[in-house]
Symmetry: C2
Subunit: 372 residues, 2 copies
């Protein structure tokens, strides 16, 4: 909360303010604080309108072209007034544009960059995330208190409860591809600074590769690179298809391995872990780094892209805030923790590795390490 008179304005191109805070200046502190808190509490309005529109097929209808509320209500079989209210709500969040047709009716347009985001087949589709929200996240967040009481660990103590079914997981994995472009750009720039050239013929091991989007985009940055994506059979099938889609199938192979028990080889130039470490216990995190250390080629690197809390970066950094809240998200839906840079540095030291870089991306951090 901001104390009266104090101003800590933050900016975000994606943010929709719902309190005109300039008009709170000089108002008593409790009313100000309540306004700020209220703005947090109505956070559920945004997923509410976006997911309702997706449920009704409104975005799919709008990919065919701009439409009025009358036309949308016809297509979707919805109530006219309610359809208008929903579309105006989406417009308030800048998800659709609103102009006027020749006869003065409001005309709603889905911006082109969002067409594929709402399509199940888009590379950066959020359909899997929305589907996960519909099935799990609303109830999980609403009932978070219960998991705070119990700790949400199962009877064996070590493993986190994971409410995500295999099918939802597959869909969810594709649903977070959109994180990859800025992370890969940051990673590629760092690799170049560390001496990688365009002709680098190194081998990347993408551990727990998911759709493989991170190593696949990296292959596009370095045309002589090859990558192996390690994951379960169900997931690697998705990764293979996507490698073809991205024109890197000739340099991307999937490897179905039990990455705890099977050997990783010994010639790895880059061991890549994206959103893997937050799923680990401290013990399994240490084990992953030990296996990495053993399989690295001379001069090879470990790259970890994850929710890494850097306490030295102050409380206010976006990456720290997102990491803290992602931990709460994992507490709600099961699945892991957000570890601190101090944790990582200790695990690295235990595996005779040392950190050589820590880089910010829009919502994550990228940690690079090599043999100490």
């Amino acid at each position: 909360m901001t104390a009266p008179g104090e101003t800590t304005a933050t900016t975000s191109a994606g943010f929709t303010p719902l309190v005109d805070t300039a008009r709170l200046t000089g108002v008593e502190a409790e009313s100000q604080a309540a306004h700020h808190l209220y703005e947090h509490l109505i956070g559920l309005w945004a997923p509410g309108v976006i997911e309702a529109a997706q449920d009704l097929g409104a975005f799919s209808a709008l990919t065919l072209g701009p439409a009025t509320a009358v036309r949308l209500a016809e297509i979707l079989g919805t109530d006219l007034r309610a359809t208008r209210v929903l579309m105006d709500g989406l417009h308030a969040y800048d998800v659709v544009r609103r102009s006027h047709s020749a006869d003065g009716q409001a005309l709603y347009t889905l911006p082109p960059e969002l067409h594929d985001v709402f399509s199940p087949h888009g590379l950066y589709s959020l359909v899997g995330k929305i589907s996960h929200d519909r099935k799990l996240a609303w109830n999980a967040w609403r009932n978070l208190a219960e998991n705070v009481r119990t700790g949400a660990r199962d009877a064996t103590g070590g493993e986190r409860v994971n409410q995500i079914s295999e099918e939802d997981y597959t869909s969810l994995v594709r649903g977070i591809n959109f994180w990859a472009p800025p992370i890969v750009r940051t990673l590629a720039d760092a690799l170049r600074e560390l001496g990688w050239t365009t002709g680098e013929s190194a081998r990347v091991l993408d551990v727990g590769c998911g759709t493989g989007i991170y190593s696949q985009l990296l292959l596009r940055e370095f045309p002589a690179l090859t990558a192996s994506g390690l994951d379960t059979e169900r997931i690697t099938a998705i990764a293979s298809r996507q490698a073809q889609e991205l024109d890197v199938a000739d340099r991307f192979e999937v490897v179905v391995k039990d990455f705890w028990n099977d050997d990783w080889g010994t010639d790895i130039e880059l061991a890549l872990f994206v959103n893997i470490f937050h799923l680990q216990t401290p013990e399994s995190a240490r084990e992953l780094l030990l296996k990495s250390s053993k399989s690295l080629a001379q001069g090879g690197l470990v790259a970890i892209a994850d929710h890494i809390v850097d306490d030295d970066d102050g409380a206010g950094s976006v990456q720290n805030k997102f990491s803290r809240l992602f931990a709460a998200s994992m507490l709600a839906t099961g699945g892991g923790d957000a570890y601190t840079l101090h944790d990582y540095d200790q695990w690295l030291a235990d595996s005779e590795l040392r950190r050589v870089a820590l880089l910010d991306t829009p919502m994550h951090r990228v940690l690079l390490a090599r043999r100490a």
Copy 2:
């Protein structure tokens, strides 16, 4: 959505950015758009952590003083790790402060201006709003699509479905008192500009007064003013108690009236309607203004504080966005609509009234009118 290269930064002291948008510059448009959309979709994280903490009694515990996660877990009977994750999540949203105790543990503090906000007895308490969220809002927003299909009107066609029980309504009414201070300040300034003096001995009729907070705070601005609060018996009992709490009981009387059928008198200097018009149909809105017009003293004013959409103000104004989304909120939970300034001007003209001012407040607009 912001097009690539375009920057439409907005600021809000209460906002918690979870995407570091500076690091999205130059990234492909679809990934950027997906980041912005994702930030909207995770809007439910904020009510999730805040309401869980309230459910568990964490805020109540913190009003006794700062505490570590260990101490809080003891008091609340919760899991230690999960309690730490929850408190760090609250800290990410700036709801609690985080420092370090002498032995290096994180120490969580509830800022003083939030103590009463989380107390059921605070004047600007949000406990009623939180309770309403817990009971109704989560399910209503999650199932918004269904109301868009049906229009959420009952079988008689005219009345909106109102899912709010009488008890929840009472609690909710107190739960939005916090809106009053900046609105009353704006109204009082406007009245002074229109010639009201400190010694103004006018009579205010607060129609559908709820807790009476608006007319009660106005009585404190104008020491010779008197006010009558009209509402149902259950609600006026709350208003009477609160008038005593605010030391204006000698000038505030409650009037239990059927405000559709009973007479309002004829000597009203200010007919005040706060959050009343959005609950009306166009027909009942017109009727309220007709009754107002008849009961105004010579030179008397009508003041309407509500979600008024001003299309001439552009799509981007916070007040328009909030009005549009409040309409979606009413579609989700039942209860009304957000009307445009054009609607109001027409209703006023039908009652021989004319608008003399339109003023922005943090989340509402205040419209002042008098006889044409």
